[in-house]
Structure formats: structure tokens, C-alpha cells
């Protein structure tokens, strides 16, 4: 589904990604861990098509398409979804309007008819239960004045409505309380099927207790320096990143 080959990228002259290789197949859950500033969000942004980054080398193939050549909205319509580490506020635009516009753009792209207001509301109400979101948030401006946890839930609600092929969750767990973490993780789990995949960026094992990864990768200084199964996350939790740093240093 997604192949990242030797991806090197910089921002404002700083080399951040220094040769990423990653292969994701349908039905898989991958977790990316790694110290602050190692390039996790950078990778997520580049996959989503955020401006300002310069790709210096490598390629990204998504469903047979050269992802880096597509505009951000085209990637989204093709099924790439990014749950933002810091969701953006859009004053004046209601959550409903925003989400309905997004869904209908994506449906148009997929050759489906646009949903009218009624059908849309029925769908959203159903999806809201999945993340146990307060219905009053629907009528409010996108993320404006939302608490940290509400913003994160809203990201997952959007994911649940838009049904992406590849969902990239950038630290969706940060800001969620213990119960919310469970709810949201279960929500993501219930959206899982054999045709879609999830790439989850996190610092903590507790999310992975619920959202069990097939693979765990450690991103350090712009490279994936270690990959393993879910036990790698437990090891990191126990030992921290020092041993990774040493190992990475040795291999240089």
C-alpha cells in the first residue's frame, strides 16, 4: 500500500529525514516511536503534502501512485489521512460544514453521490458514538476553543467519517485522559479492516496496549534505526532511548 524508499528531506536548510525506508501493507498497524525532534511529525507532514519541506531524495509510492507528485487534497481524496499532532482551529466554520464539505469532496472523487444534510447527520451521529464525542461540538467552529482532548477526539471523528485507506495518527494519545485514550483506541480499532492501514506515532506504550501494532519502528535522527514487533515498544518503555542512541552511533 505504502512504500517509502530512501526518503531524505529538509526544511529551511536543515536536514531532518536522512533516508527513511518503510513498507506498509493493507491490514497492518505500524507504530513509530522515537525521541523528540527525531523527525516523526516531519515524516507525517511530508506524506500528507505539507508545504515548506524539500524532498532531496527517495520516493513514496502509495497504491501504485507517486504520492509526492499529488497535491495535498488529492492525497486526501486518494485515502491518506493525517490526524494532526496539533489540530488547527478554523473560526467561523462549523465542524458540520467542514466535515460535510470534506466528505463530499472525497465521495465525488470516489465516484459516489454527495450526501445531503440529513444523510450526513445520520452518518456523523453514528460515528460520534464511536469516539464518544459530545454532540454539541458538531455545531461549534472547527477546533476553536476545544480542549486538547476534544481536539484529538475530533480528529478521530473526522477519520471515522472520511474512512481513509491509510491513517497517520500523530501523537493522537497525547492530551487524552485515561478513559478517552481507551475509547479513542477502540474507535480506531473498530475502523480497522483488511484493506486499510494505520501508522501511529506515539511516545507511550499505553496506547499500544489497546491499539496493538504489527510492527514498531524507532526513528532516530532522521532514520529508522530499529524495527521489531510489539515487544520493541515494551523494551523502549523499560530502557528508554539511550541504548538506541549508542547503537545508532556505533553503526554510523
Amino acid at each position: 500500500m505504502l512504500s517509502i524508499r530512501n526518503l531524505k528531506a529538509s526544511i529551511e536548510g536543515n536536514h531532518i529525514l536522512k533516508g527513511i525506508n518503510l513498507e506498509i501493507h493493507p491490514g497492518e498497524v505500524h507504530a513509530i516511536m522515537g525521541p523528540n525532534g527525531s523527525g516523526k511529525s516531519t515524516l507525517a507532514h511530508i506524506l500528507a503534502g505539507k508545504e515548506g519541506y524539500i524532498v532531496e531524495d527517495g520516493e513514496v509510492i502509495f497504491e501504485g501512485k507517486n504520492l509526492l507528485e499529488l497535491a495535498p487534497e488529492e492525497r486526501a481524496r486518494e485515502g491518506v489521512f493525517l490526524a494532526f499532532q496539533y489540530p488547527i482551529e478554523i473560526p467561523g466554520v462549523s465542524n458540520t460544514t467542514f466535515l460535510k464539505t470534506a466528505l463530499n469532496e472525497i465521495r465525488k472523487h470516489r465516484g459516489l453521490s454527495e450526501l445531503d444534510a440529513m444523510d450526513f447527520l445520520t452518518l456523523v451521529r453514528k460515528r460520534m458514538k464511536l469516539v464518544d464525542m459530545d454532540p454539541s461540538l458538531l455545531g461549534r467552529p472547527v477546533n476553536e476553543g476545544f480542549s486538547g482532548g476534544e481536539k484529538k477526539r475530533n480528529e478521530i471523528l473526522q477519520m471515522a467519517v472520511l474512512e481513509p485507506r491509510l491513517a497517520i495518527l500523530d501523537e493522537t494519545d497525547s492530551g487524552l485522559d485515561i478513559d478517552a485514550l481507551k475509547t479513542v483506541a477502540n474507535g480506531v480499532n473498530s475502523l480497522k479492516n483488511k484493506d486499510n492501514a494505520t501508522l501511529v506515532v506515539t511516545h507511550y506504550q499505553r496506547l499500544l496496549d489497546y491499539l496493538v501494532p504489527d510492527y514498531v519502528h524507532v526513528l532516530f535522527d532522521g532514520r529508522i534505526v530499529e524495527s521489531g514487533d510489539k515487544t520493541l515498544a515494551l523494551e523502549l518503555e523499560r530502557k528508554g532511548y539511550d541504548w538506541i542512541k549508542t547503537k545508532a552511533g556505533d553503526s554510523k
Partner: protein, 480 residues
């Protein structure tokens, strides 16, 4: 970042959609302004002598006035002797129905997407179509007549209702009020007169479509609306003009009078030619709009301003009567090299008077958009209340937004609140929308319509839809 920048630029540099020129034989007065021209206009309109004297008085006053320079706009000096002050489509008699209207004119409305036939059918809207300076079609007049409502081209009203004209014309905006009002009083050629009798609720929205059509023809509209005691009327004004190279001057005057217990809603969608993206051409729009509220009456202004190269316009209200209320809801959008200096004046004179000002400026391209507002609480205005909210939204970083709020309070019981915000459509917001599948063009549309929603809510339904489209068109590729 560069790509988004370019994208925003390409969106904001859309060509004017409605640029075309209708070919109708014009009946023109020679260029320039002098007493003979005013006599010519007055004679053409078959006006009573008193009207001619009124015009001449205004003209003589105007001769000694100076063009105002305080607004935050710049433009080359206007040569008032290089303008035609009278132009009329040639015709034998006023048409009695649409069948009699010049097909050319109907075609013009067609191109604008506002065919009269359709409008007629739409939700009981009566249309008094003004083509250049002479009315070409008046519909629904009969139905209105049954209720005693007068809805006439002002030149007809001057002939047929001299008493009402004498009593109210110039009573809110006297000819001496300002430079452009004096000029208008001297040379206005047409416009609309509305009178709603006591206790009558006008059952339909009244609307007029203006078009400026003859090259170098200044357009001097005059609108007078009188709502008698306990009556109600909603009036819509909308306009668009053909593409032009030379600047066209427009100096309209609108006067509203709400007598005791009456209510007037006045809505405008203004989309005149704004000039090309380098600022060449476009309409100079110097408008004086003012209303007077008597006891327990209410006047609301709602405007969506997207056109004109220069806009100088402050729909104002004098809350003379006790317990009267005034509202001003405005969206002003400027793009490319457009300049807008617009706002309102709320003058509280009566007790328990209330006013609300909601102003939403949107600037894009290299444009400049200023809000200028005055809230004045007179010494007799006990317990007067005003709430003002002035927001500015910037698209790109080469445009300007300015706010000039003035406040004069001469009564200690007044309660005045002012809020102002400036925001920008950020690249992060656009990326967020993009990431959800919404293209940049559509994203800007969604954000802008959200931002201006409070004002759209105040417009009559069919106008709100049109206005929403206009904003999107003014910034995006195409309608719909």
C-alpha cells in the same frame, strides 16, 4: 509556502465576469456640468419649477464645496466637466409590461443571471429595473397600489406625488450635507421612491437593479423610502456594471425615514466593476446613505460590498425618537487594487435608543479595506446602548485592513461596547482543509462564508445566496 502563495494569487486575480457593453442608442446631454445641463435634466424629467430651483440651489452650493480628502483612499482628480450627466435609452413611452421592454435590456439582465421573468416569479419580488438613468420596467406596481404602497421611479414620484417629495426629499440628507450629496442633488436623474402607508406591512421584498452602461456617464441615483407609522418594508438593492477602461463616477444618495413604530430593512449587494488586477478602470462609488428613526422605530442596513475600484460609503442612522433601534451589518471585500473606506454612523438622540454594528472586512491582493465608524451619544439619549464589532480578515500579506472607530459620548448613562479582531487565513488552515480533501479554492470559500455568516443571516434568503456566491466569485475561479 511559495505554492500556496501563487495559488492564492491565481484565485484572487479572477477576471470580472460580467464585463460586457450593451448597445442601446443613447439620448445624451453634452459632457460637462453647468446650470443649462441641470435645466436640461429637469426639463427632460418634466419636473415642477420648485424641483429645478432645488437642484440649482444645490449646484450653486456645490460649486463652493471641496471634495473630501479624509478617507483612506487615493485616486486621480476627477474632472467633473468630463462627465455626461444625462443618458437615457431611447424609447417612445414607458413600457407597461415586460413585453414592451427593449429586448437588448432583457438580454443584459440575462447575461447577469437575473432575468426579470425569473425574478418576477421568485418569491414575490417586485422589480423596478433601472437601466442607466431611466426606469425601463416596473412590476407588481398594481398589487402594491391596492395596499396604497407607492413604489415608483423617483422622477415619476416627483411629478405624481409632489407633496411627499417636498416633505421628505433632502430631509435626511440635505443638499448641503457633503460634496457628493450636493452634486447628486443637483444632477440626479433617477432612482426609486417608496412610500408605505400607516400600519401596512409590505408583503414582498422591493428590489431595484442598477446598471451603469453609457461610457463616461456618471450615475446619480436618488432613493427615498418613507415608512409611515407602524408600517414595514424590506428593500433590496443590487448592482453590477460592464467592463470599462475609464473610471466611472457614482454618487448616490439614499434617504430612509421610519416614522413612529415603523421598520425598514435596506439590503445591498454591490458588485460593480472593480477595475482590472492592476487597478485600471472600475467604478468610483461615493455614496451617502442615511436614515432617521422616530419613536419605537427600527432601521437595519445590511450590505455586501464586493465591487467598485473605490468605495466611500457610510450608511448611517439618526436615532431621533425614543426607544428606536438601528442596525448595520456589513461585509466589505476588496481584492487586487480595490480601496474601500466604509462603515457607519450611529447618532443616538432619543432615550433608550439601541444600535448594533457588525462589520466584516475581507482584504486580498494589494487592496486596502478600512472600517470607519462613529458612535455618538447625545446628551438627551438616556440609557442609550451600542454594540460594535469590527473584524478584519486578511488573505495574503500584501493587503491592508484598517479600523477607525470614533466615539463621542455626552451622556453618562450610555453603555457602549466595541470589539475588534484581525485575523488571517493561514497556510496552516488551508493545509488542514487540503488534508481533509478540500481544495484551496473551496477552503477559502468555506472560511469566508463562515466568517461573514452573521451578516448573511440578515439578508433576505434569495439575496443571501446571491451574496454568498458573489464573495466566492470575487475570490475564486467561478460560481457554483
Amino acid at each position: 509556502m511559495g505554492k500556496d502563495r501563487e495559488h492564492i494569487d491565481s484565485l484572487t486575480q479572477k477576471e470580472y465576469e460580467y464585463g460586457f457593453i450593451t448597445d442601446i442608442e443613447m439620448d445624451m446631454a453634452p459632457k460637462g456640468l453647468n446650470e443649462d445641463i441641470i435645466r436640461f435634466i429637469s426639463a427632460k424629467k418634466d419636473e415642477p419649477d420648485s424641483m429645478l430651483r432645488w437642484r440649482l440651489k444645490a449646484y450653486r452650493y456645490w460649486l463652493n464645496m471641496k471634495e473630501p480628502t479624509w478617507a483612506f483612499v487615493t485616486y486621480p482628480p476627477i474632472d467633473y466637466q468630463n462627465i455626461y450627466y444625462y443618458a437615457a435609452p431611447k424609447k417612445k413611452e414607458g413600457p407597461k409590461s415586460l413585453d414592451e421592454v427593449d429586448p437588448e435590456i432583457l438580454a443584459t439582465f440575462d447575461k447577469l443571471g437575473i432575468p426579470l421573468e425569473e425574478r418576477e416569479a421568485l418569491a414575490g419580488v417586485a422589480v423596478d429595473a433601472v437601466m442607466d438613468s431611466v426606469s425601463v420596467a416596473t412590476t407588481f406596481r398594481k398589487k402594491l397600489q391596492e395596499l396604497g404602497i407607492i413604489f415608483l421611479p423617483i422622477s415619476e414620484a416627483i411629478r405624481e406625488h409632489p407633496d411627499l417629495i417636498k416633505k421628505y426629499l433632502g430631509s435626511v440628507v440635505p443638499p448641503t450635507d457633503n460634496f457628493f450629496a450636493a452634486l447628486n442633488s443637483a444632477v440626479f436623474t433617477d432612482g426609486t421612491f417608496v412610500y408605505v402607508p400607516k400600519g401596512i406591512r409590505c408583503p414582498m421584498e422591493l428590489s431595484t437593479y442598477f446598471r451603469i452602461n453609457a461610457a463616461n456617464t456618471g450615475q446619480f441615483e436618488r432613493t427615498l423610502i418613507v415608512a409611515d407609522e407602524g408600517s414595514y418594508v424590506s428593500y433590496l438593492e443590487g448592482c453590477t456594471a460592464p467592463m470599462r477602461d475609464e473610471n466611472q463616477l457614482h454618487a448616490a444618495v439614499v434617504e430612509l425615514i421610519a416614522l413612529d413604530g415603523a421598520e425598514i430593512k435596506y439590503s445591498t449587494v454591490q458588485n460593480w466593476y472593480a477595475g482590472d488586477k492592476n487597478g485600471k478602470g472600475g467604478i468610483y462609488n461615493f455614496v451617502t446613505k442615511r436614515g432617521v428613526c422616530h419613536n419605537h422605530s427600527k432601521i437595519s442596513w445590511a450590505q455586501v460590498e464586493t465591487g467598485s475600484a473605490i468605495t466611500w460609503k457610510y450608511p448611517s442612522l439618526i436615532l431621533r425618537g425614543d426607544n428606536s433601534a438601528g442596525e448595520f451589518h456589513s461585509v466589505a471585500l476588496t481584492n487586487n487594487r480595490q480601496q474601500a473606506d466604509t462603515g457607519t454612523k450611529m447618532v443616538h438622540l432619543g432615550k433608550n435608543t439601541r444600535s448594533t454594528i457588525i462589520s466584516k472586512g475581507i482584504s486580498a491582493g494589494y487592496s486596502n479595506n478600512s472600517y470607519r465608524g462613529l458612535v455618538k451619544i447625545g446628551p438627551g439619549a438616556d440609557n442609550a446602548k451600542n454594540y460594535s464589532q469590527c473584524d478584519s480578515l486578511l488573505i495574503g500579506d500584501r493587503c491592508g485592513a484598517h479600523t477607525f472607530p470614533y466615539l463621542e459620548v455626552d451622556n453618562p448613562t450610555a453603555n457602549v461596547e466595541h470589539e475588534a479582531t484581525t485575523s488571517k487565513i493561514s497556510e496552516d488552515q488551508l493545509f488542514y482543509c487540503n488534508q481533509r480533501g478540500i481544495g484551496t479554492e473551496e477552503a477559502i470559500g468555506v472560511i469566508i462564508n463562515g466568517y461573514a455568516r452573521e451578516v448573511f443571516k440578515r439578508l433576505p434568503m434569495e439575496f443571501a445566496v446571491e451574496a454568498q456566491k458573489l464573495l466566492t466569485v470575487s475570490l475564486e475561479g467561478s460560481v457554483g
